[in-house]
Amino acid sequence: MSLAMPSATLLGQSLLSGVFVGGLYALLGLGLSLSWGYLRLINLAHFALAFLGAYLVLQLAGVIGLPVIAALLIVVPAFFALGVAMQILFTRFAVGEFASLLVTFGIAIIVESAIQWFWTADLRKFNFEFGTVSLQLGTLFIPVVEAIMFLVAAALSIGTWAFLRFTPVGKALRASAENPDIAAAFGVNHRRIALMLSGFAAALAAVAGVFIAMAYTLSPAQMFAWMGVVFAVVILGGLGNPLGVLAAGLVIGVSESLTMAVTAPTWAPLVSFALLIMVLVLRPDRV
């Protein structure tokens, strides 16, 4: 392990890097947290949907040549519909919390195979004009795509939190998750709300997919690369807690990145899981 005194530039750059990767963790974790927290579904297919979204963006923008915004406008509503369809099936077959692990893992494998069938197992990269452009701030560089990704993650987390807290639908959703029977007695249509939430979670996966396509090289098997750390973010942030997910994403992203900057990078994965274990020991009620 190398323990040299890092320069201020190195620390600042690593901090920025951690913030941006934390934004991706939050973006991936948000939909997962909502469906786990409010629908009691541990949706492993969320990662597969994010990658499917990434490949569709690659196809629409990288191959066909549509603007990224147009690809976003096609993929996000399509995924909302896909999420609704999945929820209809989950309700129809009464898939419970733990059964959902198995079912959604199966869906993830099917999606992975479908991606491999259509796009092959070869690595794919969406190259576009601003892909590696950075803004310079003194001695620090701010990669444009990652910065936008973080801003979108923050906006979606705050927006979702406000929606859940201040709108009648959000309040109904929270009530329904708290006690479905009493909420139903007050006229809350849990089924309709669940459909909407599942669609929203899938749409969030599509948004994450857009940024994955823009910032990373794709291969079908990569979809499971972030699973461990994103689960840590979701649990650390609290189920169904959008602001918690954003904060946890930032904490884990920044701590991993700073660990890489000041010690051996091999220690970085230990940070997220050490934090997770600490939370589970001190606050077992979070799951």
């Binding site: 190398s2 890092p6 320069s7 530039t9 190195l10 750059q13 690593s14 920025l16 890097s17 951690g18 941006f20 990767v21 992975e112 195979s113 491999q116 092959t120 197992a121 070869d122 690595l123 794919r124 990269k125 190259n127 590696t132 950075s134 310079q136 560089f141 990669p143 990652e146 990373y216 090289t217 291969s219 079908p220 098997a221 990569q222 690369a225 972030w226 992203g253 991993e256 990145s257 700073l258 890489m260 900057a261 051996a264 990078p265 091999t266 970085a268 994965p269």
Partner: protein, 413 residues
């Protein structure tokens, strides 16, 4: 009338000569190891093996599948092996060494294949090797990355990069850079802990110390790391003359992209096992160095077999819609392991594993990679490693000089 008949005869003769010439060229193209003759007949010789057709290693395994299919098509169009057609019983190990072990057991005990051929990648080869040893089968394999772990007497490595590659390859790289006029005084080593990568990076570090290079950074990261932002910041801070990236797969692309976002381009950068296509196609991959045994250019492809292989591979890769349809070392390794198997079976006229193994230990085999021998430690032979570089989005051999493509120079800043 007579003159017409005569003209037709001449035309027919010319056509016949043309066809004969084309056939002769075709036979030559198949190489000396694949003689033409009667179509193969009888029950097929079944050769069992696995490849990572799915999972994280699938993209490289696709290359091996194409190369193997090309060889088998050529063999079966000629007279097969021992006059019989050859069938590849190919299973998907899903990039999982534990599954590879189960599948090789199945190939021997349930599918009862006549011979085994290796899977792709060190972990899976190690699994297959254990089964081969237990079942007394010979195993020719093509991408085993840790020679000292190859203990089984009837295993034969085609990836001949030297039994002590960690000591013999780094000097080649440093010599190449020095001879090309790159003043290499400082080195940064950033390496994955993936076993077949890590020992090479440790070797490069030792050799660098012995040569008096100043190590300005040494970092290890876990295999599967996705965030290279902080590592890139440390490389930029260290600003070495040479960056040795102990990478496998996409890691090189991820580090170079992260460096580019910091507006930093390494002066000289070497990558151990990068994904060849993505790095060649990436703008930041220009001048990247890597280790190779074979690249598709003269003088390496001067034999008719190699030229035909390059042509067929390009056709198939384009048909399979591979984004990088150029054959590379992986393709040549995939093809060469079949050449070794074919040579042993043809020379001994036997399918007995012990007979084949004895012959391989005592003889040399001409392959795309060059002449292979298997009589050194752990059946390793000569160190055939070379240094390649990306120039204009294509990999080309640059060192040693005698293997460099005509007119190509080792590019340094």
């Amino acid at each position: 009338m007579r003159s017409n008949t005569r003209r037709m005869s001449v035309n027919l003769l010319a056509k016949t000569r043309g066809i004969a010439a084309a056939l002769a060229l075709g036979v030559l193209a198949l190489g000396v190891s694949l003689p033409g003759g009667a179509a193969p007949s009888g029950p097929p010789i079944r050769v069992g093996g696995t490849l990572a057709l799915t999972g994280p290693l699938a993209s490289t395994s696709m290359v091996h599948k194409l190369a193997g299919e090309i060889f088998l098509e050529q063999v079966n169009k000629a007279d097969g092996m021992l006059g019989r057609p050859v069938e590849w019983v190919l299973l998907d190990d899903q990039s999982k060494p534990d599954l590879t072990r189960t599948l090789y057991d199945r190939l021997v005990t349930a599918d009862k294949v006549d011979l085994l051929i290796g899977p792709y990648a060190t972990g899976s080869i190690l699994s297959a090797m254990a089964v081969a040893e237990r079942q007394g089968k010979m195993l020719i394999h093509n991408t085993f990355g840790i020679p000292k772990l190859a203990k089984y007497a009837m295993q034969f490595p085609v990836y001949q990069f030297g039994y002590t590659a960690e000591e013999t390859f780094p000097p080649k790289l440093y010599d190449g850079l020095a001879a090309s006029g790159a003043p290499i005084k400082t080195i940064a080593i950033v390496t994955s802990k993936f076993p077949s990568v890590h020992f090479m990076s440790v070797g490069a570090r030792e050799v660098a110390k012995k040569r008096g290079l100043n190590e300005v950074l040494y970092l290890e990261f876990e295999f599967g790391n996705r965030d290279f932002g902080a590592i890139a910041a440390r490389v930029r801070d260290a600003n070495p003359d040479l960056l040795w990236m102990g990478s496998i797969g996409l890691e090189s692309n991820m580090l170079l992209e992260a460096l580019k976002k910091l507006n930093y381009t390494p002066k000289n950068h070497f990558h151990l096992y990068p994904a060849p296509a993505p790095l060649a196609l990436a703008p930041e991959g220009e001048r990247a160095l890597a280790m190779t045994l074979w690249e598709p250019h003269p003088p390496i492809t001067s034999s008719p077999t190699a030229a035909e292989f390059v042509k067929l591979y390009r056709e198939r890769a384009e048909k399979a819609k591979l984004p990088y349809p150029e054959p590379d070392m992986q393709a040549a390794l995939g093809y060469s392991q079949w050449q070794v198997l074919y040579a042993a079976v043809t020379a001994t006229k036997s399918l007995d594993d012990k007979v084949l193994a004895n012959w391989l230990r005592a003889n040399r085999v001409e392959t795309l990679l060059g002449t292979l021998r298997f009589n050194g430690p752990s059946n390793y032979g000569d160190d055939l490693s070379k240094v390649k570089q990306i120039q204009n989005h294509k990999w080309t051999t640059v060192w040693p000089k005698e293997f460099a493509a005509p007119g190509v120079k080792f590019q340094v800043p």
